[in-house]
Symmetry: C2
Subunit: 209 residues, 2 copies
């Protein structure tokens, strides 16, 4: 219930009751935006789900877009940390890619609301959306460069590769996580791993897969 406590929010509550109410609103907003989309979602819908009065919303948020942006910022961090946790300690970059894709598909499957909200941010809060992927891409690029420095993968074109790999992940997450969540995420990740391994290393590697 209190998963948002770390956020710098528009109107910080000063009492325990206030923090609880704000957290209820954010939880409710996740469901309302996730189910109905930004424009069909209503403040009345959010406050009804949170079981507070309509006016209470404006005690804690500037308006509809403000709470949406708060959710985007929160879920951006959450998604990155879920992936990061999963690939920590991977023996090499190709394994990291496979585990990251698996984590991404599973996360999308478990939290479809989050993916709808981030996707809609492209049009509702374009700057936040772009910042999200730029941060992701920067980290990716750094990771790829480190991997090539230690001889894990070939050198060069890390920036373009980072965006290409992110796009791969997003679309596979959409297709196999959100649209047709039947196939095990690990199977999809394994199927793609060969492509990524050859693509990044330029030769077959029998030590992993």
């Amino acid at each position: 219930m209190n998963q948002y406590s770390c956020l710098t929010l528009p109107k910080a509550p000063r009492t325990a009751r206030g923090r609880k109410t704000q957290a209820k609103l954010l939880d409710a907003a996740e469901v309302e935006f996730g189910e109905r989309g930004f424009h069909d979602a209503s403040i009345a819908g959010i406050t009804a789900r949170a079981d507070v009065a309509l006016g209470t919303f404006y005690v804690y948020f500037e308006g509809k877009e403000a709470i949406f942006r708060a959710l985007v910022a929160h879920f951006s961090r959450l998604t990155r940390s879920v992936i990061a946790e999963r690939i920590v300690g991977a023996p090499d970059r190709v394994t990291a890619e496979r585990l990251g894709l698996e984590a991404f598909i599973e996360h999308a499957r478990a939290h479809p609301h989050i993916y709808r909200i981030i996707g809609e941010a492209q049009f509702v809060a374009p700057d936040a959306y772009q910042a999200y992927y730029q941060t992701f891409a920067d980290a990716y690029e750094t990771g790829l460069k480190a991997a090539s420095a230690r001889g894990d993968i070939r050198e060069g074109h890390a920036e373009e590769l980072a965006w290409a790999l992110i796009g791969m992940n997003v679309f596979l997450g959409q297709r196999y996580g959100l649209w047709n969540p039947d196939k095990p995420a690990a199977d999809v990740a394994a199927a793609i791993s060969e492509f990524v391994a050859y693509g990044l290393k330029g030769q077959r590697d029998r030590s992993q897969a």
Copy 2:
């Protein structure tokens, strides 16, 4: 002006005047939706741009969503044909991938409206959006299978690969076509081509790039 004539439209005009007015509305809607997004776009905005009266809109379209869907269907076909034309006659699959990506980035750069409209379809007309990418993926998969049958690329996982490659194209198109359209599309495509070549063929091929 008459680029929509092939479409099966909700209310087919019966006279030359009618066809011209409907085409003006579709052209105007492309700009209105492309610049302001689906929800901020207004029917009044469309009819003003088309230089017709408000009520005229409803002579030709059921409503706001109907004209949006007509645009999505039209641009889906257009995008596919632009890519298809570019890769016809490519000597091998890897070259086709490179030319396709180049075409995609250039097309996104030249027609940002189209890409905003298709992107928003994800939330405004999810079925149309999904159908668009499913069609794309099916064609892609067929192409990959044909390529592996003739020994161009490795066998296996054509479905997953199709979605991965589409995701790559979309994100590179977004990054280098829409957000930072400075780098030549051919350079980006060349940078990624090595990754795709190794990934699909599993060994260096010195005959092309």
